[in-house]
């Protein structure tokens, strides 16, 4: 029987430093057969492994139609991710995936999109935005809302500037606190919602970020009568085996690694907003 826990060897094809603690890796399975059979959807994740360290779940940011490219954008938050940050082109590591349920990109077709991101370098939402902008004909108006703690945290300015130039796309940026040169707004992401011209029956909300922010967005969108099944978020939990076996990522009756990480509000409503669930 094939051992689903076992990674396969992969090679670093390219690497790029985004900021001091954020970097991107492009990976390829060294076995061409495994590489050619690899398919994913935005919002799914891979497990990356460095020998002697634990595996880490990292979301995939490349476009699923670029079948030969597996891109990850990774923040150095611990020992393993810091070591991943030291990898150079040609270095080998372990890779298995893709895992989980990604964004409802098909389900959301023909609706307006509100994509809200809190914090910086939120890879799952960046991959989602790139995905829908490349297939803009399938979607209605696209509202991109990004909030950061401090204006200096804001990265990928060029990407946002580019996105702003698309027709039917609005980009709203805000920082909790900002220096004097910050050209955007100050305050929470929810401040923009009054200006959002959306039809609640024809809108899909997708978000990624701190749970506190997501709570506020859910609350606001519910006030606007957006149905819970159209409010989606990517949850962060301790995804450890990625196969729904080890139990570490459980959230209520869900295994975040296989039932998520993307959920709609109705699925998680019973557990929503309680500390330590």
């Amino acid at each position: 029987m094939n051992n689903p826990f076992m990674p396969h060897e992969a090679e670093v094809i390219a690497r790029h430093d985004e900021t001091a603690d954020l970097f991107s890796l492009q990976l390829r399975f060294t076995d061409p057969l495994i590489h050619s059979q690899y398919r994913f959807v935005p919002g799914q994740f891979n497990m990356l492994y460095l020998p002697g360290m634990s595996e880490v779940p990292i979301s995939i940011v490349s476009d699923p139609d670029d079948v030969h490219i597996i891109d990850h954008t990774i923040r150095k938050v611990g020992s393993v991710t810091s070591n991943l940050g030291r990898l150079q082109v040609g270095d080998r590591l372990g890779l298995r995936g893709p895992y989980g349920r990604g964004w409802p990109v098909v389900d959301a077709e023909n609706t307006d999109l509100v994509i809200v991101t809190g914090g910086l370098g939120c890879a799952p939402s960046v991959s989602l935005i790139e995905y829908v902008l490349r297939r803009q004909a399938r979607y209605g108006r696209i509202h991109i809302i990004q909030g950061v703690k401090h204006s200096s945290d804001f990265i990928w300015r060029e990407r946002y500037d580019l996105w702003r130039q698309y027709p039917n796309v609005e980009v709203w940026l805000t920082a909790d606190t900002g220096d004097t040169l910050w050209p955007e707004r100050l305050g929470p992401v929810t401040q923009f919602f009054d200006q959002l011209d959306i039809d609640p029956k024809q809108t899909s909300v997708m978000m990624c970020g701190p749970e506190g922010m997501m709570k506020a967005v859910v609350h606001d969108m519910q006030q606007r009568a957006v149905p819970g099944k159209r409010i989606w978020f990517s949850m962060e939990r301790n995804m450890h085996c990625a196969l729904g076996s080890c139990g570490r990522c459980q959230l209520g009756a869900k295994f975040v690694c296989k039932d998520g990480p993307v959920f709609n509000y109705d699925e998680l409503a019973p557990y929503w907003g309680h500390k330590g669930v």
């Binding site: 029987m1 094939n2 051992n3 689903p4 826990f5 076992m6 990674p7 396969h8 060897e9 060294t30 492994y49 020998p51 002697g52 360290m53 634990s54 595996e55 938050v77 611990g78 040609g90 270095d91 080998r92 590591l93 372990g94 962060e236 939990r237 301790n238 450890h240 085996c241 196969l243 729904g244 076996s245 080890c246 139990g247 570490r248 459980q250 209520g252 009756a253 295994f255 296989k258 019973p270 557990y271 309680h274 500390k275 330590g276 669930v277």
Partner: protein, 369 residues
Amino acid sequence: MNRQRFLPGERFQSLIDQLKSAGYDVVGPQVRDHAIVFDALAKVDQLPIGITDEQAPGRYRLEKSESRRCFDWATGAQAIKPMTFVARETLWQSERLPDGSLTFHETLVKTRPTAIIGVRACDLAALSIHDHHFMRGAHPDPLYSQRRQSLFLIAVHCMRSAATCFCTATGDGPRARSGYDLALSELDEGFILEAHTGRGLDIIVQLGIDEATVEQIERADAGIGQAAKQQQRILPVGPLQEKLVSAVEHPRWQTLNDRCLSCGNCTAVCPTCFCQTHVDEISLDGQQTSHIRQWESCFNPDHSHIHGIVIRSERAHRYRQWLTHKFGTWEEQFGRSGCVGCGRCITWCPVGIDVTEELAVLCKGLVNE
């Protein structure tokens, strides 16, 4: 032919021998370190003959029983969980070659056909849940599956309940209903054997024994009925998922924060708990690693750790997670409660926290204490 046969007590060794000659390693209950545990069984006198267990919250003692029976006890320190979901095992290994490349090797499990004598109804129900968890998902677990498929199971219908048993409340016992090859009912003079599978029947046929009498069968049924009647602990009427999930802010959890040791004993003795952690072991020269899976518990803060944050940071959160999952959200995941009523979590909690008591309070709704 599925009639019940009678094996005289003095011929029990022939069952062990028959299993061996059919190619099985035989495992059975025996006394070790003041408890009944499963271990390799060669001779009938290794069984806990004339031994019974006295169980209470936080307490387990073995005593002389009034009979000379082999299975006059309720539950041992563990179900058969360690034989399928192994406490610590290598999942795979990796090796860094001198050219910098990395290879991965599957771990091969060496199994031998193994017959386990003395599996209780609750333990069988738990095994069936684990089969669902480890073998029926999108990614069947090769190590579990291989071990599971090597087992030949000989159930024993319970004729005695410990004070902590509540399998009648979960509907899983005291009579074993499915998932076994052979079942035994123990009477003072011997055993009634019934086969549930063809290979179980083969063993009975080879023993060349007579049918059990109607009186013997009735006496066995009465014994099983008596085990059911002895049980005192009950559960709130289910399903419990909605009740427990909506009790998320119940003040009772805070009292558990004070009482619970967060030691994880309840989860380790629970025959259905499946949580695990995967850790790496590095060889002396640093070039090989073993990726090891070991039992873990939702009572460990590490369990819900994500880069710098522990989601269930308080003991009360973790007790709530365990109880809500076991008796509540398990229903959505597995189509039934995660509890089989074996009572081990009550007995083996060092400070004797009783889940049935906690559930009674929590499922009554919010009360001001």
